[in-house]
Amino acid sequence: MDRTDETLRELFAVPAPPTLAGRVHAALRGPAPTLEALADRFHFEASERGIARLAYGRGRDAAAGRGRRHVEQARAELAEYLAGRRTFFTVPVDLGGVAEFQSHVLAEAARIPFGEVESYAALARRIGHPRAARAVGNALGANPVPVLVPCHRVIRGDGTWGHYAFGAALKTRLLELERATPLLVGCTSTRIVCRRGCRAEQRIGEDRRVVFASVADAAGVGYRPCKVCRPGDQAA
C-alpha cells in the first residue's frame, strides 16, 4: 500500500538463523522435564492457623483438626505449582514459632513476585537493615516453609544462586519453572484476566487462553480483571 507499509514489511522480515530448525527438532525429540513427580515427596506440619513446616523426603504429615485441611490444601497447591499451573499460594502459613527478625525477613521474601529474583543485600535493605545481608541469608536458610515462602527467589548479589535448603539443582529448576509459567491468563470468551492458579482460571479451556503482560495491557484490549484472584492488587 503506502510507504509505511512497505518499510514495515521490510523491517519485520527477519531471516531466521539457519540452525534454528535443527535445534527445534532436537528439542522436540528430547524428553520434557517435569517437576510434578516431586509433589508427593513433601510432607507438612500444620497448626490450626496454617502450615508451620514443610519438609522434603521421608517423614509424615503432622496435623490435627483444622490443620489437616490446611495440609490437604497445601499439597494440592504445591502439586499445581510444580506442574506450572499455579503462581501463588492461598494456604495460610503459621510463622508463630519463628523469631521476630526471621519472620520479618520471611514476610518480605514472600512479597517477591512470582518469576522474579532478588539479592540477599536488596532484601536486607528492604527490611531496614542494609548491612544484614548474611543474617538475611541465615534467616532464609532456616525457612520452615520453603516454596510457600519463596526463599528460592533470593539469590546472591553477583548473580550466582547461593545455597538452597533442597539443593542448588532444585533452586535452578524452581526458577526455571517460574520463568516458563505465565502469570496472567485471559479467557477469550469471558474477556476476564486471572492470575494463573485462580479457580476461575483453571476452568479456562486450552483453546481459549491468552497471556497478558499486565492488567493494564489486558484492559487496553477489553479484558477486565478477575474478582476472585484480583490480578494487579498484589503487585505492590
Partner: protein
C-alpha cells in the same frame, strides 16, 4: 476440556499426499521456507503453503508427531521473525520459538480442527513472548525501585547481566543492516505499546488479516484495527522524522 468438534464432513485426514495436492501453492512468502524445509516441498517446487488459503489443510481431530514436525519446520522462520521483533534479540527469540513449539507439541493431541494451524502456533508464541515481556518490565521496575540512590546498579542479577551480554552480541546483527533508518525504526518499535507491537509484528511478518489477529489474541476485530492503527501511527511518525535527519 473443550469438546467442541466440527461435524466429520469438515475434517480431513492429515498428512496424506492427497491432502497436500489440494493446497493452492503460494510462492514467495515473506520469509520463504526455513532451512531444511525444502526437503518436504510440495510438487509445485519451492512453494510455500499458506494456512489461510486452505484452512482445511492440516486439520484433523488431532495431530500426529510427523505432521507436527512438518508444521514446526514450516513455521519456525516466521515464528522467529515475530519473536525477534517482540523481544529484540536473537537468543530470547529462539528460546521463545522453541518453548512455544514445545508447548504445542505437548498439546498436539488436543489440537482441534476448528483452528487454523497458524492461529494455534501464533497464539502459543505470542503467549510466550508476552509473558517474557511481562517479566522484563517487572525486573526493570524492581531494579530502579528500592535502592534508587544507593547500589541498585551495582547489584546486577543474573538475568540483567545476561540481557546486557545479549544486547552486545546483538550489536553485530544491527550493524550488518545497512541503513541507519532501520535502527531508528527498531527504536521506535520499542515505544509502541506491547499489544499493538505484537499485532504489528503478526500483521507484517505473515500478512495475517484482522480476523485471524483477533482470534490469536482473543480480542474483537475493532480492537485489532484500532491497535494496529495506533502502532502504525507511531511508526509512521518515526519514519518521517528519521527520513529528515537520516537520509537528508
Amino acid at each position: 476440556m473443550y469438546l467442541v468438534r466440527r461435524s466429520p464432513s469438515r475434517q480431513r485426514p492429515a498428512g496424506s499426499g492427497s491432502g497436500d495436492q489440494r493446497l493452492p501453492a503460494r510462492t514467495g512468502g515473506p520469509l520463504g521456507l526455513p532451512a531444511g524445509g525444502g526437503a518436504e516441498a510440495q510438487p509445485g517446487g519451492a512453494a510455500v503453503f499458506h494456512p489461510l488459503a486452505a484452512p482445511g489443510a492440516y486439520t484433523s481431530s488431532s495431530m500426529n508427531e510427523h505432521d507436527f514436525e512438518r508444521v514446526a519446520r514450516e513455521y519456525a522462520g516466521r515464528l522467529y521473525a515475530v519473536a525477534y521483533r517482540m523481544l529484540g534479540n536473537r537468543a530470547d527469540a529462539e528460546d521463545a520459538v522453541q518453548r512455544a513449539l514445545l508447548k504445542c507439541f505437548a498439546a498436539r493431541a488436543s489440537y482441534s480442527a476448528r483452528w487454523a494451524v497458524s492461529t494455534w502456533l501464533y497464539r502459543a508464541l505470542t503467549n510466550v513472548c508476552i509473558d517474557e515481556l511481562r517479566r522484563r518490565r517487572v525486573r526493570t521496575v524492581a531494579d530502579l525501585g528500592p535502592g534508587a540512590g544507593s547500589g541498585a546498579v551495582t547489584t546486577p542479577n543474573a538475568q540483567g547481566r545476561r540481557r546486557r551480554e545479549l544486547a552486545l552480541a546483538d550489536g553485530e546483527a544491527v550493524a550488518r543492516q545497512p541503513r541507519i533508518e532501520r535502527i531508528d525504526l527498531t527504536r521506535a518499535l520499542d515505544t509502541v505499546p506491547r499489544e499493538a507491537r505484537l499485532l504489528l509484528a503478526l500483521h507484517y511478518v505473515d500478512g495475517l488479516g484482522y480476523g485471524e489477529l483477533a482470534k490469536i489474541r482473543g480480542i474483537s476485530i475493532n480492537t485489532v484495527k484500532s491497535q494496529l492503527k495506533r502502532g502504525k501511527a507511531i511508526m509512521k511518525k518515526a519514519l518521517e522524522a528519521g527520513g529528515h535527519d537520516g537520509s537528508d
